[in-house]
């Protein structure tokens, strides 16, 4: 028997609608990426395809888990925490699966853009470590019972995110400076997409039910779904539409000396 939550298979209601839609959109993204990558032989291109296919694939599983209530728990914070907690007997409904999904998929996004930029394994590893710290402290903010502890962890997580985005902007951009024009353009778009979408997550946490409770669970779930689909499926579409990934222009053309030698 499935754990209880707002959405059920028979009659989806509440935020379950957005969780179901998120599952479908992630699955569509995954299937489209599989179709685009079908028959690709180049080992380096295969790496991009596999990583980019897995990102919405894992996210789809996460959304399905939340839809069925597996990825949901309750955190007692007291009625004084915010209006949402006051209406729910002092408890918050928290979708923990979101964080487990992010702990898996955000490093994959960084791996994707790191490989595109040609960043070193050390730099990618450092960014992934910072990313894991950001997600885990964000989880701390969500699971804490004391309001002060929740906002303290949110602050730590947000500082980690600012450092991560700075590192992404500074170090990865420098690594990408040697790329050809098309790959550099794709890198810039993806980097800016990450900068914008990732910045919105802590803001949404702050105004959502886990923070100040300005917006309810229904709107919060919708906005998280839109952000997730943009940051994952949108990211994948841009990356896999790049000529440097799907085209043949990444194959180095022989220099005049090499051509003459032949």
């Amino acid at each position: 028997m499935f754990p209880t939550q707002a959405g059920t298979l028979g009659g989806v209601e509440g935020e379950g609608v957005w969780l179901a839609l998120g599952t479908v959109l992630m699955l569509i993204g995954m299937v489209v990426f599989i179709a685009k990558g079908w028959g690709v032989d180049d080992p380096q291109k295969k790496e991009f395809y596999i990583i980019t296919i897995l990102i919405p694939g894992i996210a789809a599983a996460s959304y399905l888990s939340m839809f069925f209530g597996f990825g949901l728990t309750e955190v007692p914070v007291g009625e004084a925490y915010n209006t949402y907690a006051a209406e729910n007997g002092g408890t918050l409904e928290v979708y923990w699966a979101r964080y487990a999904d992010w702990l898996f998929t955000t490093p994959l996004l960084l791996l994707d853009i790191g490989l595109l930029a040609g960043a070193s394994n050390r730099d990618i590893g450092a960014l992934v470590g910072l990313d894991a710290f950001m997600i885990v402290t964000g989880l701390g903010a969500t699971l804490m019972r004391s309001g002060v502890a929740r906002y303290a962890f949110w602050t730590i997580s947000t500082i980690a995110m600012v450092l991560l985005l700075y590192f992404l902007f500074a170090v990865f951009s420098e690594a990408a400076s040697d790329l050809n024009e098309d790959a550099k353009g794709t890198f810039n778009v993806l980097r800016n997409l990450i900068l914008v979408t990732w910045t919105l997550y802590p803001i949404l946490w702050l105004i959502g039910t886990e923070g100040a409770g300005v917006v309810g669970l229904y709107v919060e779930t919708l906005l998280f779904m839109v952000l997730d689909v943009t940051a994952k499926v949108g990211f994948g579409f841009i990356l896999l539409s790049s000529r440097s990934i799907v085209g043949d222009d990444s194959v180095p053309t022989p220099s005049e000396e090499e051509a003459a030698a032949d």
């Binding site: 295969k46 990583i51 069925f68 990825g71 487990a100 999904d101 702990l103």
Partner: protein, 81 residues
């Protein structure tokens, strides 16, 4: 590098690393199952949410590491020596 080495390099081919394929499949399976496993872990072992959740989260991150390592080692360059 000798001319012979150049020839060998030209003849190098990428082979699928079977261990990485297995690692990739197992890591993805662990990651996906983990997203659904928490209620069963709590019921099966009589654990509280926090007791079941943090180990599960560590497993999710290990699953990512497994995916990353497997993808980066998916193809091995083999040359005809």
């Amino acid at each position: 590098m000798s001319r012979n080495d150049d020839d060998n390099d030209d003849l190098a081919v990428y082979e699928l690393n079977t261990r990485s394929v297995v690692g990739l499949v197992v890591s993805v399976a662990v990651g996906v199952v983990g997203l659904f496993a928490l209620p069963a872990l709590q019921r099966g072992f009589g654990l509280s949410f926090q007791e079941a959740f943090w180990p599960l989260l560590a497993v999710e991150f290990l699953a990512f590491v497994g995916v990353a390592v497997s993808v980066l080692r998916l193809h091995e360059k083999r040359s005809f020596d």
